[in-house]
Amino acid sequence: MKFGAEEQSGKTTTSGQTKVGMALIALIAAAAFGLVTLPALAQDDTSATSTSTDSAGDPSVLRIGWAQDPQTLNPFVALDEENYNVWSLNWDLLTNFSTEDLSPVPGIAKSWEVSDDRKTVTFKLDPEKVWSDGEPVTSADVKFSLETLGGEGDIFSGYTDEITSIKTPDDETVVITTKRPDARIVGGIFVYIIPEHIYGDVPIKDLTGSYQPDLPLVGSGPYMVTEFDRGRIVQLEQNPEWNGPEPGFGEVQYIKYGNQDAVERALRLGEVDMVVEVDPSTFQRISEDPNIETLSSPSPSYTELAFNICPDDLCPDAERNTAIQDTAVRQAIAYAVDRERVNAISSRGTSTPGAGILPSFYTAFFETPEQNYEFDPEMAKQILDEAGWQDNGEGEARTQDGEELSFDLAVRSESPSNIQAAKVVAEQAADVGIIFNVDVISVDKLTEMTVRFQNGKPAPDFDTFIWGWGGDPYDPSFLLSLLTTDEIGSLSDGFYSNPEYDKLYDEQRGVFDTAERKALIQQMVALVQEDMGYLILTEDANLQAYRTDRIQGVEPACPSDGGDLICEQVSYEPLLAISPADGSSSSSGSDDGGGAGIVVAIIAAIAILGGGAMFLRSRSGRRKDDEPLEFEE
């Protein structure tokens, strides 16, 4: 009986051994299969048409690292900010931006003329402009782009709202007529001009659906996308038809690293030459590297403290502590908060303290407002005293007729910097008797609270929150529009409403003269400052870093005074001016099978030996250290 069992098991042993071995081998084979099939599969998706033989060390390639990449290049459906980095090299606008002060300069249009009633603008196109596939750029392309992309593109709509007709009397002339004067027509239409002979043939349903443009991405800019491998790389090569200044780099690669840590490491190791979005907390540390230069430049975006001040007639069902509707309270908050400190803490001093609703980035229109609420807690207390808010002692909320100066301050959990800002605000406001309860919530919940509707009317459900907005490179209309009454129920999230402001907004829109428009905009800024409808805490900066041993000829641009490295997302001109640093070559250890290749080999060898040895040993059954057993054979 016992022997029987033993025999049985003995058989199992042999067959089990081979089977288990087979199973393991199958597992390894599966992994190997993955390895083998990968390049083939990768080839399928990339639709790579690149014929380049450049390798990592080629100095004529500019490699830019970023954490996130665009998800699609189709301009009709793209939603990512990163798209602009790519498109701005590939395409022109009707009028491009001056690298000095961002004012309109020739793009697709060589010159333009505004009619006396300011409702018609006639553009003469540049006959030298040619698409990268050799086709001429014509007025039909402009009409198609403004009508179709401007009308249907998710992130391009809104710019062409005022246009009533686009006429094309000949190939080189475009006549745009608007309902009423609209200064945005020159310099403010952020809609790329794309080739009609490519996109015009695709049904609009596909364009706004799953259409993916063919590569190379036909354009009129100095570079064109030749490879787009989502999650890895966007590669741009020089446009063969480009007849502007010769670029210093023949090729530009945007390389995705997936997270901030990896991008910054890649810069330090020289795997990339430049990084376009550095984290404020490591900005300082990165610049300590002798070969890395950092650059902080203003951007048209800000972080604001918004108040729920929707007028009762527009938002009858708004939920809030109504004390926030008292202008004196908001003014006191503005005086109580030290925006310098908010900047120092929340963005490590890389931003600039806010000064009214127009970011200083808009140099053509900016002026520091007269009433700028410089940090003054005593003033805050005085205002509150005068408004009848009773002081209940240090750190206690002031009260009046049963109302209490205690507000919820909502802030997005995904933004550590906003959370820090909220803490500073709460800390400082408490000193004057205004209590903020910081409430860290998800972005969805915050959106829900601000866009809530009840009985067909907006019914925002919050007291205050901190969030941010970003504007267009030259025309400030978008940021200014956020405080108009028209936007209540749409984009307005502070629910500011002031008929005088609305009137000024409409007026400035139609003024083409910069000085005149600036005066109007200044009045608007002053109005909001007086009502304290929106407290701009900081104006946020573009933080970039590049390797000085790889790039030379850097001249800050956009604006030329304190601007950024390559006029990111706005103009391609500065990128043409930079070139590979003298004597630069590959500094990354990424050559085919270099030193690390040996490491691979060693590890692979160990793994194979280790695995193999196990089986070999079981077969050979060495007797070296056999233990003597009870029964000798």
């Binding site: 997270n259 901030q260 840590d261 990896a262 910054e264 490491r265 330090r268 984290d279 907390s281 490591t282 300082q284 540390r285 120092a344 803490i345 490590r348 001093g349 959990s413 995904e414 550590p416 959370i419 820090q420 803490k423 860290v440 919530i441 998800s442 969805d444 919940k445």
Partner: protein
């Protein structure tokens, strides 16, 4: 109720040699003593951590990613906060989530396992299908989806982890109940007309408890890891400092590349130590409860 008196006495439930041996296992071996003291230490931190923390763990300063110094024994974070203080305070989330989630998980698992194993038939088949399904659905992705759906808070984390990790316990309890149900003392109680609830309470449950307990301890470890993973993926409670969220902040602000080891190593080490200790306690228990293991593997 007269039956109960008769039933209570005659056959004492075969006492698993749990309690006594468990104590000796835990206190008598250095492994047991080590694990218990590590766990005790972290529980102490969970209760008193914010009292002994030298600094306000959320206070930011301009001293960012500073190396360890006398003022900051473990350096500072990307916001200039004291890493050491955050570490002390962070213990609470791990301990609370770990234990609370495991409690929910074991109550759920026990209930389902008992019901299925005892009643059998269709009840069992349905419950078994549900269990099966929870067993195969990959836990972390499910937790991620649920946590993304609900607004993250400590309660949500506990609920999500508890609700997704009970199936294993259910399985084990069910198997144990199956064997107990056929035992003579249960059969006899049933023959004498005892109610199901009574049988479960006096005969089945007491004999399953040690097993449930051992399993729960292991789920504590799993829950602690799960909370840390969710926090690392940005799905933790944004208002609380936890070791997972510390790692997330460190990673997303580029601390590893900046070489800030003082910020990166301690939180992970704390998680590892705590999970290590709890798992070891769990294994020691299981070892005691499950005699098969004990007889054959003296190493534990």
């Amino acid at each position: 109720m007269s039956g109960a008196v008769v039933l209570g006495a005659p056959e004492p439930a075969p006492v698993e040699p749990g309690e006594l041996t468990a104590r000796s296992r835990l206190l008598g071996t250095w492994r047991g003593r080590f694990s218990l003291s590590v766990l005790g230490f972290f529980i102490f931190l969970a209760i008193f951590g914010n009292l002994i923390a030298p600094d306000d763990p959320t206070a930011s300063s301009l001293d960012i990613l500073a190396k360890p110094s006398w003022a900051h024994p473990l350096g500072t974070t990307e916001q200039g906060s004291d890493v050491f203080s955050q570490l002390l305070v962070g213990a609470r989330v791990s301990i609370v989530v770990g234990f609370a989630a495991a409690l929910i998980s074991s109550i759920l698992g026990t209930t389902v396992g008992l019901a299925g194993g005892y009643y059998g038939g269709w009840t069992d088949r349905i419950l078994d299908a549900v269990e099966n399904w929870f067993l195969v659905i990959p836990a972390l992705p499910l937790m991620i989806v649920l946590a993304r759906l609900l607004d993250p808070s400590l309660t949500v984390l506990i609920a999500v982890i508890g609700l997704t990790s009970w199936a294993g316990t259910g399985r084990i309890v069910r198997a144990q109940v199956f064997t107990l149900r056929e035992r003579a003392f249960v059969e006899r109680a049933r023959a004498l007309g005892a109610k199901d609830r009574y049988i479960i309470r006096t005969h089945i449950l007491p004999n399953t408890l040690p097993l449930i307990f051992a399993n729960t301890v292991i789920i504590v470890a799993v829950s602690i890891l799960a909370e840390a993973s969710l926090a690392f993926l940005g799905l933790g409670d944004p208002t609380k400092i936890s070791w997972g969220s510390m790692l997330e902040n460190a990673f997303s602000s580029g601390a590893p590349s900046a070489g800030a080891w003082w910020y990166v190593i301690p939180p992970g080490l704390c998680i590892a130590l705590l999970v290590f200790a709890v798992s070891l306690i769990g294994y020691l228990f299981e070892d005691v409860v499950n005699p098969r293991l004990r007889d054959e593997d003296p190493a534990f």
